[in-house]
């Protein structure tokens, strides 16, 4: 809906949008998962979908709930405030895909845009989330915040990719935080931040001159005793076990395609049922 009709704050530019989409899955009596709630809102369009290609954990399985997130409009633009709430109900399996990359654009007067995603994965549930890249266009000012709360016996794999501007343009300002908790305890919490408002991110400690950064987080309660060992499989990519039953695959690359290849190579290092 348009906030110009219902202004929340005098500081948000005219035409700024706020949207809140809701998605949930449940396990049916026949043992297959289905979508229970599918509430799109303005720019956040949710649709039932079919497999886009190979999937870790759920490849060719017909009994899982598949949903695609599509963009109903351009953006987010500066001033926009998007939220997506996802609940993966007990015992169910949800695959969340995206139709295309999300291009973050500047708004009027440099206003900040934000997107907040909260995910709850309940007991015995599985969440497979293969997001497409977020592109921080020149002069954008965006905060992306993702919180995933897992039950102690939930499984998940999530991929996030961030590009520092479109081809040939300098990056805008972006912070992107992913926090994963398991049974309420922290498992992974990392924020990536870059752009002209900050320093040092283009240095050797953080991203160097790379234009793409991403990670895959995989969590499996079966890894409590023996998590997969650390493996720096490329000069700019490594698979690392977390302090709990999960791994982080981190990579930086010069472009989107190389980043995707590095991340999926890391996923394949995990072997079946993760490898694709």
């Amino acid at each position: 809906m348009y906030d110009s009709l219902h202004p929340k704050s005098a500081h948000r530019p005219i035409g700024a949008m706020s949207a809140r989409a809701v998605l949930s899955s449940a396990l049916g009596p026949n043992g297959s998962s289905h979508i229970q709630t599918l509430r799109s809102d303005g720019p956040l369009v949710l649709r039932k979908s079919n497999p886009k290609g190979s999937e870790p954990l759920t490849h060719r399985r017909p009994d899982v709930a598949r949903v695609a997130l599509a963009a109903g409009t351009a953006g987010p633009l500066g001033g926009d405030d998007y939220a997506l709430d996802v609940q993966v109900g007990a015992g169910s399996t949800m695959v969340l895909q995206e139709v295309s990359a999300m291009l973050i654009l500047p708004g009027l007067e440099g206003a900040k845009s934000q997107m907040s995603i909260t995910v709850r994965v309940e007991a015995g549930a599985t969440f497979v989330w293969l997001a497409e890249p977020i592109i921080a266009a020149h002069r954008c000012n965006h905060r992306h915040d993702v919180r995933v709360a897992l039950a102690s016996d939930a499984r998940m794999i999530s991929r996030e990719e961030t590009l520092l501007g479109r081809h040939g343009e300098p990056a805008g300002d972006l912070t992107s935080r992913l926090r994963v908790t398991r049974d309420g305890a922290p498992l992974y919490d990392q924020q990536v931040a870059f752009g002209p408002a900050r320093d040092g991110w283009n240095g050797a400690a953080v991203l160097d001159r790379n234009r793409a950064v991403g990670s895959v987080i995989a969590v499996d309660p079966g890894w409590t005793e023996a998590p997969p060992p650390a493996h720096p499989y490329h000069e700019t990519a490594a698979l690392t076990p977390l302090a709990g039953p999960g791994v982080a695959i981190g990579a930086v690359a010069t472009d989107s395609l190389s980043l995707r290849r590095l991340l999926m190579r890391g996923v394949n290092e995990l072997g079946p049922p993760w490898a694709i």
């Binding site: 935080r177 926090r179 994963v180 305890a185 922290p186 498992l187 992974y188 919490d189 990392q190 924020q191 990536v192 931040a193 900050r198 320093d199 040092g200 991110w201 283009n202 240095g203 050797a204 400690a205 953080v206 991203l207 160097d208 950064v213 990670s215 650390a230 493996h231 720096p232 000069e235 700019t236 990519a237 490594a238 690392t240 076990p241 977390l242 302090a243 982080a248 981190g250 990579a251 930086v252």
Partner: protein
């Protein structure tokens, strides 16, 4: 009167707490040819201070506040939050090794029952926060001590790893003093809130390079 001399003692690289054996990720960055000159060194140090430095500072300040209040009830939460902010198992181990060594040094230099209360292998920022408290310092001091110790330690390693004029290296440190002051203020401001809200800026290449470094046969520094 403010305890300024105690702060200088804690932040001094000559404190016998094992810091000299580490380059703060500089050696891995030089080996990977990502740092080749003085400008690259400065941008490396700034990026490190803004990420791992801010995290260490915030957790040191948070531990300091808890020690000042004599309330370690959420110490395990702090440790777990710090683990969650370090994807590289090698960097988690380095932090705990340095924490153990700092605790051993402080337990001898300035004994206090708090040090034994920190468990088997506390992270370095947690020990630094507690050390600051028992020396009569506050959370901002704890943050500044670990920021300065880590930054000057990495800068000192530069002289052994690359051809640089030591005056150029110290010029970088001088330019960074305002930045470390500002980071310590941010760290102390975050320290009193819930541990989940402590800052978590990541440094992907530092994590990746640390894992490569551990597997290398020839290296001058442990990390």
């Amino acid at each position: 009167m403010e305890r300024q001399a105690a702060l200088l003692l804690l932040a001094d690289g000559r404190l016998p707490a094992g810091g000299y054996a580490h380059s703060g990720g500089l050696e891995p960055a030089i080996t990977a040819k990502r740092v080749t000159d003085v400008a690259g060194l400065e941008n490396f140090l700034i990026g490190r201070a803004e990420t791992a430095g801010l995290i260490a500072a915030a957790f040191a300040a948070a531990a300091c506040i808890r020690a000042v209040r004599d309330d370690f009830s959420d110490l395990a939460v702090l440790e777990a939050e710090l683990d969650a902010r370090a994807p590289s198992p090698e960097l988690r181990k380095v932090s705990r090794d340095l924490g153990r060594q700092l605790r051993r040094a402080m337990s001898s230099i300035h004994p206090h029952p708090f040090f034994a209360a920190l468990g088997d292998a506390p992270h370095q920022p947690i020990v630094m926060g507690v050390a600051a408290a028992v020396m009569g310092l506050g959370p901002r001091d704890a943050a500044l001590a670990i920021l300065h110790e880590n930054n000057s330690g990495a800068a000192a390693a530069a002289a052994k790893l690359m051809r640089v004029d030591p005056f150029d290296v110290h010029a970088i440190l001088a330019r960074m003093t305002k930045r470390l002051d500002a980071l310590s203020v941010r760290a102390a401001a975050a320290a009193d809130g819930p541990p989940a809200d402590l800052p978590s800026p990541g440094a992907p290449l530092s994590d990746i390079a640390a894992e490569h470094h551990r597997r290398r046969d020839v290296r001058l520094f442990a990390s």
